[in-house]
Amino acid sequence: MIDRSDFWTVIVVLGIGTYLLRFSFLGFLGNRLLPWWLVRGLRYTAVAVLPALVAPAVLWPPSTGGAPDMARLLAACATVIVGAWTRQMMAAIAVGVAVLFGVQYLA
């Protein structure tokens, strides 16, 4: 069960923080130049954070008690390959889900 006081704190602070990130330069920083290293780092935030968030669940899925699972591993690989190749998020999801259920069905 999600702790409600945690939940509301997260919603409010995350909401305000996310808004300030969006408003930062449009709102009050204008055309000021950012230090080059910051611009460079920002470019890689999403690709650094998102796959790392789910990597443990790919390798050690909680639903199998942490034992690596062939269907999930193959599904994850297929998703990344199709997504990187076609640049289509939906195509990647479709193939990933198909591989997941396909391998589970065959196994």
């Binding site: 996310t18 449009l26 611009v39 460079r40 690709v47 990933g96």
Partner: protein, 231 residues
Amino acid sequence: MVRRGFLRGVADGLPFVIVIVPFAMLFGLLASEAGLHLYEIILFSVVVFAGASQFAALQLLKEHAPVLIILVTALAVNLRMMMYSVALAPHLGQARLRTRAVISYFLVDQSFALASQDYDKRPDQPLAEKVGYFFGAVTPIVPTWTISTIVGALAGRAIPQGYALDFAVPITFLAMTAPMLRTRAHWVAASVSVALTLGLQAMPYGTGLLVAAAAGMIAGAGVESWRARHD
């Protein structure tokens, strides 16, 4: 001017509806499976309005991670929006403050991608048309996002607990990230971060992830600098 831009934006924004419907439904579904009430789910989506970070925050909330870790992780997911803000400032910086404040709320991956493409293609359009285009582009996206979240949340109550949904988030996140892997630097950033996260599993409460992500960002930026010097 506003009208012409607006209509063009709506036309360009419409195809994104196909992507947003299942994505938002999945969020509603997982949030309701996690035991959140419908009004809480709606507020979550409306207040934060940033899909990937909502998934991340939801997952960490379920794992009872400390609030500070949840916030840092979810905000790190959204740091890219600061880059969007930087990129659009030259185009929209002259609009009224009130307009920019509203634009900021609607600055998401899709509206940024559409607007920056359009402004590059038509650099001579007046400010009013640019503003119109931006609002046009988000017009199909916003109601779709909210309504699909609600539909997913309602559907979630009908589905028995724990039914094969555990892998929906990993697949969605990977599918979201893979198209962003455009350069070798992006691949390096992602690989370093994933490898370190797995290696640092023993660190408490997902703090390994933060170390790993920071290292991934530095690695990506490093590769980019190196290539800039050697190509």
